[in-house]
C-alpha cells in the first residue's frame, strides 16, 4: 500500500501548485517588489526609488478619499446586508404563525427565497449596466420614474443620483445591498435549518416572544455563519470594482463625480492602465494588503465567541 505513494503525491500536486504559485502567489509577491520602483508599466525600465511611492500616497488626497470610501463600504455593507438578510431569514424559517405543526416559516417562503436570490446569479457587470439604466438622471430612469409617480420628484427636477456627489456612494451601496441580501438570506436559512426546532418550541412553551427567540436562540447559534458572511461581504466591499467602474461618471473606471465614489480598486486600475504608474499602483496594492490583513484579524478577534454545540 505504501509503494508509489510519493510519486503519486507529487504527480497530483505538481500542476495545481505550479499554476497557483505562478499566477497567484508570485504576482502577489511581485506587487511588493514593484511598489519600490518608479516603473511605468509600459517598458521594462525601472529604477529603485525606495519608499517614495508610499510617501507620495500619504499626500495623495484622491487616495485618502478612496480609502475612506472603502472603509465606509466595509462597515456599512456587511452591517446592512446581514441585518436585512437575518430578518428575512428569520421570517422565512421561523417567523410564521405556529400551529399544531410547530414552528415554521411564513407562507410562500420558497418563492421569496428563489426571487431574492436572482441578483446573485447575474453577473455584477450586467447588474451595473442594469442599474446604470435605472439610475438615469431624467424621467426615463426607473428610479426617477418611481419618484415622479410618488410625487417626490418632478420631470423637470429629477434626482441626479450618480451625478450627485453626495449621493453617488449611497447609490453604489444600495446596489450592493440589493444584490447581496438574497445570498446571505439563503446562507442564514440553511444554517437556521440546522437548529433543532425543539429549541424554539421549548422556548415558546416557556412563554418566549418571537423577538426573544431571535435574539436569545437564533442569533447566538448562527454566530459563526454571521462571521463567515461578514468576511465575504468585507471582500465584496474591498472590491466593488465592476460596479463603480461602470456606473459612476468619470473617464476610465468611473469614480466620479470629482472622485466622490473613488475606490482604491478604481484608482489603482486607472493609475496602472491609463496613467502609466504601475509602481505607484503596486504601492496602493500593498497598502490594501495590510489593510485587509489587519481588518480580517481584528474582525475575527472582535467577533470571537465560544462555539455553542447543539
Amino acid at each position: 500500500m505504501r509503494h508509489g505513494k510519493y510519486p503519486f503525491i507529487v504527480g497530483f500536486l505538481f500542476l495545481p501548485i505550479v499554476l497557483y504559485v505562478g499566477l497567484v502567489l508570485w504576482p502577489y509577491a511581485q506587487t511588493f517588489g514593484y511598489s519600490l520602483t518608479d516603473w511605468s508599466g509600459a517598458s521594462q525600465d525601472m529604477n529603485f526609488v525606495g519608499l517614495a511611492n508610499y510617501t507620495r500616497l500619504l499626500d495623495d488626497e484622491v487616495f485618502a478619499g478612496a480609502l475612506w470610501h472603502n472603509l465606509l463600504l466595509l462597515i456599512l455593507l456587511p452591517v446592512i446586508t446581514i441585518l436585512i438578510a437575518l430578518f428575512f431569514a428569520f421570517m422565512l424559517n421561523v417567523g410564521g404563525k405556529g400551529g399544531t405543526g410547530g414552528v415554521q416559516g411564513v407562507k410562500g417562503a420558497g418563492f421569496y427565497k428563489v426571487v431574492f436570490f436572482f441578483p446573485q446569479v447575474l453577473s455584477i457587470a450586467i447588474l451595473a449596466v442594469l442599474w446604470g439604466a435605472v439610475y438615469r438622471t431624467d424621467e426615463s430612469g426607473l428610479a426617477n420614474g418611481i419618484l415622479i409617480k410618488l410625487g417626490l420628484a418632478t420631470a423637470h427636477d429629477p434626482v441626479a443620483f450618480l451625478s450627485d456627489p453626495d449621493m453617488v456612494l449611497w447609490c453604489v451601496l444600495a446596489v450592493l445591498v440589493w444584490s447581496g441580501v438574497g445570498f446571505y438570506l439563503v446562507l442564514f436559512s440553511a444554517a437556521m435549518q440546522g437548529i433543532p426546532k425543539d429549541i424554539y418550541e421549548a422556548a415558546l412553551l416557556d412563554g418566549a416572544k418571537r423577538g426573544q427567540t431571535f435574539f436569545k436562540i437564533t442569533l447566538p447559534l448562527l454566530w459563526e455563519t454571521v462571521q463567515t458572511a461578514w468576511v465575504y461581504l468585507a471582500i465584496v466591499a474591498m472590491d466593488a470594482f465592476a460596479l463603480v467602474a461602470s456606473i459612476t461618471p468619470g473617464a476610465y473606471f468611473g469614480g466620479g463625480p470629482d472622485h466622490h465614489s473613488e475606490l482604491i480598486s478604481t484608482y489603482l486600475m486607472r493609475s496602472f492602465l491609463r496613467n502609466g504608474e504601475a509602481g505607484y499602483a503596486c504601492a496602493m496594492g500593498v497598502v490594501i494588503f495590510f489593510f485587509t490583513l489587519i481588518l480580517t484579524v481584528v474582525s475575527l478577534w472582535a467577533t470571537k465567541r465560544d462555539k455553542i454545540e447543539y
Binding site: 497530483f12 501548485i17 511581485q30 496602472f272
Partner: protein, 314 residues
C-alpha cells in the same frame, strides 16, 4: 431546503391566530399576527424591488428609442425582436460564445486540479502537507486586484512562450481563472474529502487498486455532492468575473479578434458608442445576458442554493 416548501400547507396554521380555542397553537401564535402582516409587507416590497428592474429591462428591449428616452413607465407599442437581432449582431453572440468556451475549460480544470490537490492534502501524510494547505487557504483572503499589475505582465510573458497562452487568448484566461479559483476549491474539497469514510479507500488499496485509480474510480464518485456544490460556486464565480477579463482580454494590437467575455463586452458596449444611438439594443443585450442564467437558475434552483450555501458554510 426541502422542508420549507412543505411548511406552508400545514393544517391548523390559519386557525392559530384567528380562532381562540384551547389549543397549543394559540400560544405559539402569540405576537405572530402583527408580525406576520409586517413581515409579509417587507418581503413583498423586497420581491418587487428585485423583479421590477429586471422586468423593466426586458420590457425595454421591445420599446423604441424615443420611448426609452421618454417616461420610464411607457409600455412597448408592439412586441417584435428587432432589437435582439441588432444586439446580437453587435457582438453579444460572440461574447456569449467566448464566455462559454472559457468556462468549459476553466471550470473543468478547476474541479480536476482542485480536487486532486485537496485529495492528496486531505488523505496523505507527508512532509510539508500543512504548509501547502495553508498556502492555498491564504490565497483566498485577498482581493484579486492586488496581483493585477504583475499578473498582466506574467500573462504577457506567457504569450511570448506560446501565442496561445498570452493576453487576449482563451487558454491564458482559462489558466488564470483556474489559478484564482484553486484556493477556495482546495479549501472546500479538502474538508469534504476529510469527511469521507476511509474504510472504502483502504479496501480498494488492499485489493490492489493504484492510488490514481482509487482517486478517480472510488473517491471522486463518493465526493460527488461536494463536487457539485463547489462546481456551481465556480461556474457562478467565473461567470461573474469582470476585473480579470478587463485586464487580460483587451486586444493587444489593432485588428486582433475581440475575445471579450460577455459581461465585459456588454459593459464596453454600454460605455462606448456601441449603443449610444440604440438604447433598445442595449436593453436587449442585457436581456440576452440575463435570461439564460435565470432559466438555468430556475431549473436548478434547489441545487444552486444548496450548493452555494454549503460551499460557503464549510
Amino acid at each position: 431546503m426541502s422542508t420549507l416548501d412543505t411548511t406552508a400547507s400545514v393544517p391548523g396554521q390559519r386557525t392559530a391566530g384567528s380562532k381562540p380555542k384551547p389549543h397549543r397553537g394559540q400560544r405559539f401564535g402569540d405576537g405572530g399576527g402583527v408580525l406576520n402582516v409586517f413581515s409579509h409587507g417587507f418581503l413583498a416590497i423586497w420581491a418587487i424591488m428585485i423583479v421590477l428592474p429586471l422586468g423593466w429591462v426586458v420590457l425595454g428591449s421591445f420599446k423604441t428609442d424615443s420611448q426609452i428616452n421618454g417616461s420610464a413607465w411607457s409600455w412597448p407599442s408592439s412586441f417584435h425582436f428587432d432589437a435582439f437581432s441588432r444586439a446580437w449582431s453587435k457582438g453579444i453572440g460572440g461574447f456569449f460564445l467566448n464566455t462559454i468556451i472559457v468556462l468549459l475549460g476553466s471550470v473543468t480544470l478547476t474541479m480536476l486540479f482542485g480536487s486532486m490537490a485537496a485529495y492528496v492534502l486531505a488523505r496523505y501524510e507527508f512532509k510539508g502537507n500543512r504548509f501547502i494547505y495553508y498556502l492555498f487557504v491564504a490565497g483566498s483572503m485577498f482581493p484579486v486586484y492586488l496581483a493585477l499589475v504583475p499578473l498582466f505582465f506574467m500573462v504577457r510573458n506567457l504569450g511570448e512562450i506560446s501565442p496561445y497562452l498570452g493576453l487576449n487568448s482563451y487558454a491564458g484566461l482559462i489558466l488564470v481563472y483556474v489559478a484564482y479559483s484553486l484556493p477556495f476549491t482546495v479549501f472546500f474539497m479538502y474538508s469534504f474529502f476529510r469527511t469521507l469514510p476511509s474504510a472504502v479507500h483502504e479496501a480498494a488499496m488492499l485489493d490492489g487498486c493504484s492510488h490514481t485509480r482509487t482517486f478517480f474510480q472510488i473517491m471522486v464518485p463518493m465526493a460527488k455532492p461536494g463536487l457539485i456544490s463547489v462546481g456551481i460556486f465556480n461556474v457562478l464565480g467565473q461567470w461573474n468575473q469582470y476585473i480579470l477579463p478587463v485586464t487580460l482580454m483587451q486586444p493587444t494590437q489593432a485588428g486582433e479578434a475581440d475575445h471579450s467575455m460577455l459581461a465585459q463586452g456588454l459593459v464596453n458596449l454600454a460605455l462606448q458608442s456601441g449603443y449610444k444611438s440604440d438604447a433598445p439594443a442595449l436593453f436587449a443585450g442585457m436581456t440576452i445576458a440575463m435570461l439564460p442564467v435565470l432559466v438555468v437558475y430556475l431549473s436548478f434552483q434547489r441545487q444552486v442554493q444548496a450548493g452555494l450555501t454549503s460551499a460557503t458554510l464549510k
